[in-house]
Chain length 609, copies 2
């Protein structure tokens, strides 16, 4: 994910991986809505939808008073209005493939069998990292077992023999450890993960099951009376991911990896599922993990070294958050690192990485702590009996739906997120400063296409001004919008003027996207300001994708955007400032907009050299 | 297209192409709805939607009484309800890539620089074809000019020197000439194209234009007062395809290819478009063609040699029919040839290729004759003045929309299409025997997915029985459906019993898909007949994708299917028999269904050997 950003923004990057090959089976598989939105912004969401299995429903099974499993509730997996996308599941290996292909287009590849062996840091100097390029080995690792990467194996069990390795010294401006729970980078910084263990262990299994449980192609959350809990996640290629409660440990007790097997996991599943049957003639992958939550207090050092993902937070996998939040960490960091590396922004914006992502990680840990204990708890069969409340568990599940989808994240005020306020809320009631800009269907003036507005927020490093231009058949409003565009294009205090290189296209650093409340054919296309239909490129081709109308399309809906965003169709309009990662940085009135934008960007943008 | 069918059905096939490389620029670009449906059935429609430009609107410009160009009408390009897909445009080279990749998955490739040089036919013997494998040449052909393939060049201008070629003799059971208007295969059969020329020539140009015409990203149909007509088709990658009327020829006069150029075409376009301006700094491709319509009376010889596409019908390109109808020819032929080659069906079904496709080609020629003359005609400025009627032209355009989309094709009764009739129409009022089975959103019992029902009609050679099972909460109707399934699975007269090999999965020749009018949760999944949830494959995995409900899904519509197809939700249901190419072969009542199916298939199916 970080590589995608850096490759697309042209930052010289190397990615090293100590492993000889990428993941092909198992591991993470849930792709949350916000992650699909991010993939879409890189143009790589199609594969998720094509190959992944969309989860439509969640079904809860619980013991009745006699202890017999019964279906107690059935709900949609993704609540409508969560996102234009829905939760899908697909093996991590394919998800990595999409990211790898995305980087590869720009010429960036993962260098495998390369291990970092030393790290030297001096302020204001390049960071020196020594790398060992391991000789190619043909060592066989059973691809169906994920144990060697799980948290029940505390040391790296692989034989990373650097004796015959070629040693290389590299000088780096920045180092980012996306290197997992046992992060080498974290160790160099002397940071550590802090937290506790629940002393409970679960098995995980990818298989094609033969079962008489009718609900096997929807998500099933199942608490048995006495045999533990189980989560069923139907996957691509008729696979099913099972999470299966296995047992408890004494405080301090370590699980013996050699005693684990897929057969033992299937046996536990059968006990939990009884009287339903289960056969798994083909097991694609399995592993065992202990439940625990750990977090690192710091995620960056001197704004030169950063940690993302499991290197700074680990937890249990059942809510499908690990891969998603880890990718979101890197997505948050990527564009900032690119802007600073390329001299467009001051290093101070890198402070916001930790500010924004530690808060998310803390929420994750807190949620997972509660969630995993309820999941592993023995259900109370009646309100009076001991055990966890099924009602409480199901209520938590529903409540956490939006958070789990990744679309509820809200970043606090910072150098790159303005303070919210009453006046701003009045202009766009449902546009939340600090949250990502949500999508609505709008219609393109030039080609009459119905477009998801957020699809225009491509991850290319540009900031965007989404101008709710209002009713263009009102001459006063058209004049106000024209005047705003004129000032944005020509005022010396306009950030567009100040931070766009003189020879570059006017939309190359900031892109202005207009959304009118009036229909697209209400006035001639050329009556709209030149700023939103600029001439670009070597030949000066007109731009046709910056002007949209909030009208109903022939085929694909639309006409609800102003209402959805909470902007008055006949009002004075407003400007929504959107960061390169689609988060709303500010909402501004037309009047004073250019000066306020100027002040906002003057805090961290650097003029073109 | 033919290769896709043959590769996917496992027929040993060779594809030869005399050209050294595939098309990269220009040529056809319109992909009609029915073609996208076909691509979808091969699992390769995604690329069309991802890379192609969907056309949303058609705008008509015509001269007013003073001869000034004015916008006279604006209509949607694809009428709602035409298909679940919409008309897109994309360069032919990419469309070929998708087909090539689809074949390649099965190991079938196009052999290039291979020319057929002799053809020997004896009844009941293999056909002997000699091939010349040309040495690789580095001859430069200007990729931006398409003249050498156009109909203004009457002989093949390429230098196909077979002197140094390696000669190979192959023995073929079947030969299909998909070899264009100058078809070598057709010449071997002694067949010829018959028809006439309009003595009018047009230019065609792919360019990125700079113009002040505001409607350049929608389709524009433009008749000027005196300078001729023009068609604008906005394409992928900001390209625009222009068709530009150039001039007339004397009867018998031939155009001099050497006198043609992109500059001359752009000059003509400027005259037609005036007073709007046009600059084309980058021309990707151009060509010139004469308007004419020609058709071959026969398309097959002894059911051993066949002609498809331009080898049997040529016409003008502006309605975007050539590539689409040509692919539809091959799509019609492919599954039949596969079934006969594999010994599943008698060769008599091959007669239906000509029966079905000659009719379509005749309609095409007739339509194009009328359409191209109206397009090239000088518009009458008033009702009284001379010239073609703009109203007549626009009315024809709208009327032909459904036909152009490829979704209106209806095959007549034949060995593989039953006679229609009042009683059949009553059972499913909007299911037309001989037309392709249209799509509606239905909900899958097992996973709650909203599914386009036609997406289940994958091109894999299987026949399908779509059973409108009715209301499963009505015990009488459930019993009738169960009885139908029992008879289908076990009666000796059932074609499923007779024509499915004993060791094969029960859904491998005929797939039964049930659509209930009752909701999916109205009765337990396992209460439905085993025929629609069979155990398949080596391990006997349950099938979860053969039972659907006509209910509303949470996210994606649905609940309108019975109404759309015209089947009574509370009635006795019916069975729609669908061919491997999605065309409806018959509509049957439950009672007598198995016997009638038996008689239908006994006419041409062969029992497994």
């Amino acid at each position: 994910m970080l590589g995608c950003w850096l490759a697309r923004t042209g930052v010289k990057t190397r990615i090293i991986d100590k492993r000889a090959s990428k993941i092909t089976r198992g591991h993470a598989d849930g792709v949350q809505c916000r992650t699909i939105e991010i993939f879409q912004s890189f143009g790589i969401a199609d594969g998720l939808r094509r190959e992944g299995n969309e989860l439509a429903e969640v079904v809860f099974y619980n013991p009745d008073k006699e202890g017999k499993l019964v279906l107690t509730s059935r709900i949609p997996d993704t609540d409508p209005h969560t996102s234009r996308f829905r939760h899908v599941v697909l093996t991590q290996g394919r998800i990595e493939d999409f990211l790898i292909a995305c980087m590869d287009k720009e010429g960036l590849r993962v260098e495998r069998s390369v291990v970092p062996i030393s790290f030297e840091y001096e302020p204001d100097q390049p960071i020196t990292v020594k790398l060992a390029h391991l000789p190619k080995t043909e060592e066989y690792i059973d691809p169906s077992s994920g144990l060697y990467r799980s948290n029940v194996v505390t040391t790296d069990s692989e034989n990373l023999d650097i004796k015959d390795a070629r040693i290389e010294e590299i000088k780096a401006k920045y180092v980012v450890g996306c290197d997992g729970a046992k992060s080498w980078t974290r160790q160099q910084l002397g940071f550590s993960l802090e937290g506790d263990s629940a002393n409970i262990y679960w098995g995980v299994l990818d298989a094609r099951p033969i079962t008489d449980l009718p609900d096997i192609r929807v998500k099933v959350v199942l608490h048995s009376a006495d045999a533990g809990s189980l989560l069923i996640v139907p996957r691509e290629r008729n696979l099913v991911r099972f999470y299966i409660q296995m047992g408890t440990l004494q405080p301090g007790e370590k699980l013996d990896p050699r005693a684990q097997s897929s057969e033992k996991i299937i046996e536990s599943a059968r006990r939990i599922l009884a009287p339903y049957t289960l056969e798994c003639p083909e097991v694609e992958w399995w592993s065992v993990y202990e439940i625990g939550q750990r977090i690192c207090r710091d995620v960056s050092f001197d704004n030169r070294v950063f940690l993302t993902g499991d290197a700074f937070h680990t937890h249990s996998p059942k809510a499908g958050q690990g891969m998603n939040i880890s990718m979101a960490d890197s997505y948050n960091l990527g564009w900032k690192l690119a802007a600073v590396s390329k001299g467009l922004a001051s290093p101070s914006i890198l402070d916001t990485y930790g500010q924004e992502r530690i808060q998310v990680a803390r929420e994750l840990i807190e949620f997972d702590h509660k969630f995993s204990r309820l999941f592993s708890g023995k259900p109370a069969v009646t309100a009076e009996s001991e055990g966890i409340s099924i009602e409480e568990f199901q209520a938590l599940w529903v409540k956490m739906g939006k958070w789990n989808s990744g679309t509820a994240v809200r970043y606090g005020p910072s150098l790159i997120v303005a303070e919210a306020g009453e006046a701003k809320t009045r202009m766009a009631r449902n546009v939340v400063i600090g949250q990502h800009f949500e999508s609505q269907v709008v219609v393109c003036y030039a080609d009459a296409h119905a477009v998801q507005l957020a699809d225009r927020l491509v991850s290319d490093g540009r900031w965007r001004l989404i101008v709710f231009a209002g009713n263009m058949t009102n001459p006063v409003q058209l004049a106000r919008f024209t005047s705003l565009c004129d000032t944005l294009s020509s005022s010396p205090s306009s950030p567009i003027k100040k931070y766009t290189p003189a020879q570059a296209d006017i939309n190359s650093v900031f892109e202005v996207i207009a959304l009118t409340s009036s229909p697209r054919l209400a006035l001639p296309y050329t009556a709209l300001p030149a700023l939103v239909r600029p001439l670009v490129g070597k030949f000066g081709y007109p731009t046709y994708d910056q002007i949209y109308s909030d009208e109903k399309s022939v085929h694909d809906g639309g006409g609800e955007a102003y209402k959805w965003y909470g902007v008055d169709k006949e009002g004075e309009g407003c400007v929504v400032l959107v960061r390169p990662d689609q988060y709303v940085a500010d909402v501004l009135a037309f009047e004073g907009c250019v000066e306020k934008l100027g002040m906002f960007f003057d805090r961290f943008m650097l003029p073109p050299s």
